[in-house]
């Protein structure tokens, strides 16, 4: 059988690395000294240093997870755990150093901001270098700041919620993040306030072997609503990098939060992220999660439905290309009566990539009349690629309704033939079918993100034919 020639992704548009000086850069490796240094540079209170040190001990005592993607090649002693590109934070675009600006401009951040995004909290390595919130947010009493400032400016609020949804003992990587966290966003939306436009943070890794441990805390107070967007793009490097973020979301009574994220880390990044939302009475949480890049992703956005009538949704896509392992999924844990959850997962594997859906739906004894539906579809574009589906479904209630459905297949010959008979090339036809397959996800994205995502997918698909 003649094998189709496999595509080669052209990364040149992303593979740029600006040379610049770092204000502070730790030597590679994990040590108590690094933790103390980070805490000292950030001028943190004593309790935070204690928390970090405790987390470090927990991290060191926990083994690597035996399940999921293979992360045994990850060498913790080679990673840099803290690097800061500028001495101080700035709040105006003009003050941002040119080399950083240039990188962001290639990713289209300023345009996005000019259009309708309210505030840009752009993370460049471990520190928030640029943060600007529109006056409107201040007027509404919304706190949208980098997480380091939040620790000094809102210490009580910070302490109340830090580690509440994801304690350091949750897993090895949440312990690692708690020990070395640096940068990330902190958002508080007061009671009854609707944030009228999406808030956005853009993350970039731009130094080889860097570990990025951003921590994001979002609190939507009673009756409020928020849409937060996080996107990632990183240039290519030879040594493995690690991104191990922690995102904690608290959706209080009657509030609504949507968290949209598209990760496009370069193909050498281990992306091991813990994301969890605690959803209170009649509140709603939505994770919209796109996984395009990285070498290995392990990411399972979770919804803990704690209050009566709470609901949640996870909509995720993943694209696994050459050498990639996308181990993504979702968890919905029903702990209260009349809660509902919906999980929609779409994955595309090509050029030898492996995509895995790993999900958990759990209905506890207290979750009377809980309803949950999960739907996973996988497309495998060539015979070297693979797809796994591993859903865990647990119900302890007779009056609950839990369902799961999954299908795996290739692009149908009929669809391809139809499009080709209309004059399209096989490549273009495949492109269109994949775009259609992923459309339940893309149509949930803000316009400029949908455009960027389609562009990324087209880039990944270049030369790949079904």
């Amino acid at each position: 059988m003649v094998k189709e020639e496999k595509f080669r992704v052209d990364y040149s548009s992303y593979n740029f690395h600006n040379k610049r000086k770092y204000a502070f850069k730790e030597a590679p490796g994990i040590s108590e000294k690094v933790v103390r240094d980070i805490s000292k540079i950030k001028n943190e209170p004593e309790w935070m240093l204690d928390t970090r040190l405790k987390a470090l001990r927990i991290f060191q005592s926990m083994p690597l997870p035996k399940w999921g993607a293979d992360i045994s090649a990850l060498n913790f002693s080679e990673l840099i755990y803290y690097a800061r590109p500028t001495e101080k934070k700035v709040n105006s675009w003009d003050e941002v150093p040119d080399y950083i600006k240039e990188t962001f401009e290639r990713l289209g951040i300023p345009e996005a901001e000019r259009k309708f995004l309210s505030g840009v909290s752009a993370q460049y390595e471990s520190e928030t270098v640029y943060h600007k919130a529109k006056e409107e947010l201040d007027k509404l009493g919304i706190i949208f700041t980098d997480i380091d400032s939040a620790l000094t400016e809102y210490p009580e609020l910070f302490k109340k919620y830090f580690g509440r949804a994801i304690p350091m003992t949750d897993n090895k990587f949440s312990a690692l993040n708690t020990a070395f966290w640096s940068g990330g966003s902190f958002i508080y939306v007061p009671k009854g306030v609707n944030v009228p436009f999406p808030l956005q943070a853009y993350f970039r890794l731009n130094i080889a072997r860097i570990g990025q441990f951003e921590r994001t805390i979002i609190i939507a107070d009673k009756g409020s609503s928020l849409h937060y967007i996080e996107g990632c793009s990183a240039p290519i490097y030879n040594r493995a990098s690690l991104h191990s973020g922690v995102v904690e979301v608290f959706v209080l009574d009657d509030a609504k939060v949507r968290y949209t994220t598209i990760q496009n880390w370069s193909k050498n990044v281990y992306n091991l992220v813990t994301q969890r939302a605690i959803v209170h009475k009649n509140a709603r949480m939505e994770w919209v999660d796109g996984n395009i890049g990285s070498k290995t992703t392990m990411k399972y956005p979770s919804i803990v439905l704690l209050g009566e009538g709470a609901s949640g949704e996870v909509l995720s896509i993943s694209l696994a290309g050459r050498g990639q392992c996308q181990d993504a999924g979702a968890k919905a844990i029903h702990l209260a009566p009349n809660t509902s959850s919906r999980i929609i997962s779409k994955s595309v594997s090509l050029d030898g990539g492996r995509s895995t859906y790993r999900g958990l739906v759990r209905v506890s004894e207290r979750a009377r009349n809980a309803v949950s539906a999960a739907n996973c579809d996988a497309l495998i574009l060539d015979e070297d690629s693979s797809s796994d589906t591993i859903p865990y479904i647990e119900s302890q209630r007779e009056d609950s309704l839990v369902s799961h459905e999954a299908s795996v297949g290739k692009i149908s010959d009929e669809q391809l033939f139809y499009l080709k008979s209309r004059g399209l090339s096989e490549e273009k036809a495949t492109d269109i079918i994949v775009s259609g397959f992923l459309s339940p996800f893309t149509k949930e994205l803000p316009l400029e993100y949908a455009i960027e995502l389609n562009r990324l997918i087209r880039l990944e698909m270049k030369g790949a034919v079904g």
Binding site: Y300, P391, S395, E398, H404, S407
Partner: protein, 362 residues
């Protein structure tokens, strides 16, 4: 005789593995937290096995080699499976039945009944080489075209390997022992074979392992219906498709006790133009019912169609109401709906009748 020695070695190794393997843990995978009931686990496993049973096999050399290969392959695949290791450790006899063109050609190797009062486990290897065959397994009685091949009165365990080669096989299996049992069924289909298995379970506590191996444009269809009211049940169904083949599996449960279902379908890279599906509907009929299901798919090529589905729900209120307006009590209406639910997929008339009998006894 070397092969017999090797079999004894495998059995001894299985005993060691069994003793060293831990009971399935509550946190088998850190991130999911499935609360397996400890007392169930302890009830199922007998504790340490100090000495393997004295395995006896008086058969021609070729036959011993066949048994050795089968046991070695099972050990390779199930090395981490505590219940299979336990059955191997307690293995006393092997039976081989070879069927050619629908007629039984050989019965070898072991006495048809165990010694009185002795608990023993025996592996039965059924080689269906051609033709059309019906196999019936009623608890530990194995019948071929209505002729009893084997009866293991005391074992409480089924350990059966069926290999269908260029043949059509229909298997009906009933498991309703009042004592707790383990069962392991290997069902292999090669060279355009067609295997259909209907299984009805009414366990006190029962773990059933079903392994399907298909290739060579064969087809395996498995339908199991379980009424899980007396005690916990654990079904582990996995399939390996290494060449072009079709596998369809359905596990239906009506639960007022505790049920675990693990489905694992694997389609290898070579198994192009294959299909696989796994369906696991569960009906919870009481507040004490707990259902856990993990229907996983592992797909390594793209020229196939595969899917799975699972659902956990209670009896539909509308259906109940309809039957009650026709004069049925709520309990009777629930039984009628459960009966229809369990019978779906089961073709064999006597198995359908046994479902009715179980539900009447509820």
């Amino acid at each position: 005789m070397n092969d017999l020695k090797e079999i004894k070695n495998i059995i001894e190794n299985a005993r060691r593995s069994y003793n060293s393997l831990p009971l399935p843990k509550e946190k088998e995978e850190e991130w999911r937290y499935t609360p397996l009931q400890k007392e169930v686990m302890h009830a199922l496993f007998p504790g340490e096995i100090k000495k393997a049973d004295d395995f006896k096999l008086d058969a021609p050399v070729r036959t011993i080699g066949l048994i050795k290969n089968t046991i070695a392959e099972i050990t390779r695949k199930e090395g981490n499976n505590k219940s299979v290791m336990m059955m191997l450790a307690l293995l006393s006899y092997a039976n081989i039945f070879s069927v050619h063109d629908g007629t039984l050609r050989r019965i070898k190797t072991a006495p048809p009944r165990p010694e009185k009062g002795k608990t023993e486990i025996r592996i039965s290897l059924l080689l269906i080489e051609s033709g059309r065959v019906n196999i019936t397994i009623k608890n530990d009685r194995v019948m071929l075209n209505d002729k009893t091949l084997l009866k293991n009165d005391n074992s409480g365990a089924n350990f059966i390997v069926v290999v269908a080669d260029s043949s059509t096989l229909k298997m009906d299996i009933l498991e309703d022992e009042s004592k707790g049992t383990f069962s392991l069924f290997y069902i292999c289909a090669f060279n355009k074979s067609n295997v259909r298995t209907d299984m009805v379970r009414h366990p006190k506590y029962l773990r059933t392992d079903i392994r399907l191996i298909a290739s060579g444009e064969s087809r395996i269809e498995v339908h199991t219906s379980s009424l899980i009211v007396k005690g916990p049940s654990d079904i582990q169904l996995s399939s390996e498709q290494e060449g072009s083949s079709n596998v369809r599996a359905e596990v239906r449960n009506v639960i007022s006790s505790y049920s675990v279902v693990r489905g694992r379908l694997h389609i290898a890279n070579e198994a192009v133009n294959s299909t696989a599906s796994f369906n696991n509907p569960n009906l919870l009929i009481s507040d004490n019912g707990k259902a856990f299901t993990i229907p996983s798919l592992f797909i390594d090529n793209n020229r196939l169609s595969a899917g799975h589905s699972a659902s956990i729900s209670r009896i539909d209120e509308g259906e109940l109401f309809y039957l009650m307006t026709r004069g049925l009590s709520k309990k009777r209406a629930a039984a009628v709906i459960s009966e229809g639910f369990l019978k779906k997929g089961i073709k064999s008339e006597w198995l359908r009748k046994s479902i009715e009998k179980f539900l009447r006894g509820m």
